[in-house]
Symmetry: C2
Subunit: 390 residues, 2 copies
């Protein structure tokens, strides 16, 4: 009865391979490098409890009532001030829209910008949640090879010359899935090319704060972002469970369109959680909290890299991230990561084969390993199991 009722839009939406895997890995005996879960010891439980009690006492019914589509004013003020102080930007709260996680931002961008057949550019490999969200609106997606220091800029410019590209989607810092980071040169080239070819830059930065050493990188569109959309999130530094992200959009026409699409999507994001997050961030030393997460993840990343160096065959290569949550592994030519996945699952260790990170979903000799959600001992044990299979 229903098959013939399903829309083209829905038929164009692939189910998430990762979320399907996650369901099968809830068994506690399995060592999972598959998800992108923050380490639970990084959640500020007691502080959030205090903030909840405080905002209910202080603001009463307001934290429970319907609220503005763009998001809680106080939270947007905090975000603007934080961006201005840390990145030398001059953002106003009015240029910020709070979203139900960054995933919603990706869906809204697809909705508001893509007509079927429009050209959009992503990285290869790219974040699968972005591939999924954009796919719905049936664009002509072009994936540009990600080199060690960012997209292949020659290929990118050739594409921009050839087609009228609506937007370029990039995760410049410790990319998901590759763990790679753009060099200063490639950031500048990317900025120059988006201006030259009049396209929108969608700069997604979920991991920027999780740089293992030194100050976070500056945004590509930091000082001049009329033609750009910046995405941020509290999922990796405070809690993903509250589904709180944000967009910075300077262009008023585009912002209004996104705001109206958000109205139609969920009226507004959970305002109870927005109050709590805002109170938590203004009453705690968030920087200190983030430094602790960075150190934790640096140690876990180092443990995984050391274990792979010690036990993986030389024909297997992998990235060495400067931050974030992922390592990208390339198996010898001709080996299929999906086959390894099937064998590894029997040994109670899982990861994500490369397929869902390519726009054509092809089976490949690549895979993504996450190191943030296991302790070092478990990481070493999991890598040893994988190396026995290799």
């Amino acid at each position: 009865m229903f098959e013939e009722k399903i829309s083209e839009l829905s038929l164009s939406t692939p189910a998430s391979f990762i979320r399907a895997i996650l369901k099968t890995t809830e068994n506690s005996e399995i060592i999972s490098f598959a998800g992108g879960l923050p380490n639970p010891i990084s959640f500020p439980k007691e502080e959030i409890k205090k903030s909840t009690n405080r905002v209910i006492d202080k603001y009463g019914s307001k934290v429970f009532q319907y609220s503005m589509t763009a998001g809680l004013r106080e939270l947007r003020e905090y975000i603007a001030e934080h961006l201005n102080n840390s990145q030398g930007m001059d953002v106003t709260p009015d240029e910020i829209i709070v979203t139900t996680g960054s995933q919603q931002a990706l869906d809204l961008i697809g909705k508001v910008l893509i007509n079927p057949g429009d050209s959009v550019v992503l990285e290869e490999p790219s974040y699968l949640g972005a591939i999924q969200a954009f796919s719905q609106y049936r664009p002509d997606m072009c994936a540009i090879t990600l080199e060690r220091d960012g997209m292949d800029m020659n290929k990118l410019e050739a594409k921009l010359k050839e087609s009228n590209v609506k937007f370029i989607y990039t995760v410049p810092n410790f990319q998901n899935p590759s763990g790679l980071t753009y060099s200063k040169e490639k950031r500048e080239t990317l900025h120059r090319l988006t201006r030259k070819y009049n396209c929108i830059l969608v700069e997604d930065d979920p991991y920027g704060d999780l740089k293992f050493d030194g100050n976070p990188y500056g945004y590509i569109s930091r000082n001049e972002f009329e033609g750009s959309i910046l995405l941020g999130t509290f999922s990796k530094t405070v809690t993903p469970g509250m589904r709180s992200g944000f967009m910075v959009i300077r262009n008023p026409e585009l912002r209004l369109r996104i705001n109206t699409a958000k109205e139609a999507a969920d009226l507004h994001s959970n305002v109870f959680s927005q109050y709590i997050l805002w109170d938590y961030m203004t009453n705690n030393d968030v920087q200190k909290h983030i430094l602790k997460i960075r150190e934790l993840y640096r140690n876990q990343s180092n443990a995984m890299i050391k274990a792979m160096e010690d036990s993986f065959p030389e024909s297997v290569s992998f990235t060495r991230p400067e931050g974030g949550m992922f390592i990208w592994v390339t198996l010898p030519e001709g080996m299929i990561a999906l086959d390894l996945f099937e064998k590894a699952r029997k040994e109670n260790v899982v990861f994500v084969p490369g397929n869902p990170f390519y726009i054509d979903g092809r089976a490949a000799n690549t895979m993504r390993l996450n190191y943030t959600n296991c302790d070092e001992k478990t990481i070493i044990e999991g890598i040893n199991r994988l190396s026995r299979l290799l």
Copy 2:
């Protein structure tokens, strides 16, 4: 630069008139009958505070971590049990998807079912959030006149005969905006027609629990809902700020499609709030809480009706709701509610003119009054100001 980049989908999305009004009415001197806000004294503040502390202590990191797309298992079990006990249904938790408010459910339904040009049927007048969500996907919308006891079933059947209607959207109890309720006969006819013409019934029930007297009405698709989608929400009985609603979908193909669309839309709804809601509902006498809200709203509704009977000219008619949040007023033929709105705003009283509740947005002699968010004294004062203008 941007105008030519906006998608057809976005260009088809009207901004919400109500949300635009609400921004201009945050001034506390204004008496607002415009929004659809629950009375803030109905929010169980202290109980929610207790539940928050309890779930953090009891479940720790789980309440902060990424979670399942369909929603927290425990909450879905609670919903299924509640529906089975109160409505004599046989729903399983697997047939429930938790959504970011009912607004998200409307967007997901539009996404998954509507191809441009597809026929869908709504009530006239209809809920503007549904008109907005469906409009995005460019259906051929047909609005069937709402009579005192439900849709005009002759017109509906004529439409169903003539076109291949994808779905019928209805709010059978204390409808928004009209306050009208379907009779038993029309419920049965609607059920029979959806089966006969093989179309999907989208039954939206945000207000069902807010019936002033006696037991809530049974769902139209209670016992046999293979071809139906049921929408529920905690916004009117617990808190709208947490944006928590749910869908009941028995057909597995349709459920999978909606679930995948939700994955792409926001991965999952706020799980911190889902834990709190579930804990609140299992540890408190929710029925007693709802009875208090019903009494409050019955008194407020009675106060508004009495004030209108006392002071409105006889040429003005209005509905007498059995529950819910709204009264629908019909001004004399030829009078335009939008003109009255402009005058009333100067007298510091606002309401929603009928326009956004019609699919063609036409100016009309109708308007929606909300009585849930003012006390009785304020309601009487507001109605008196309106009557002086009439």
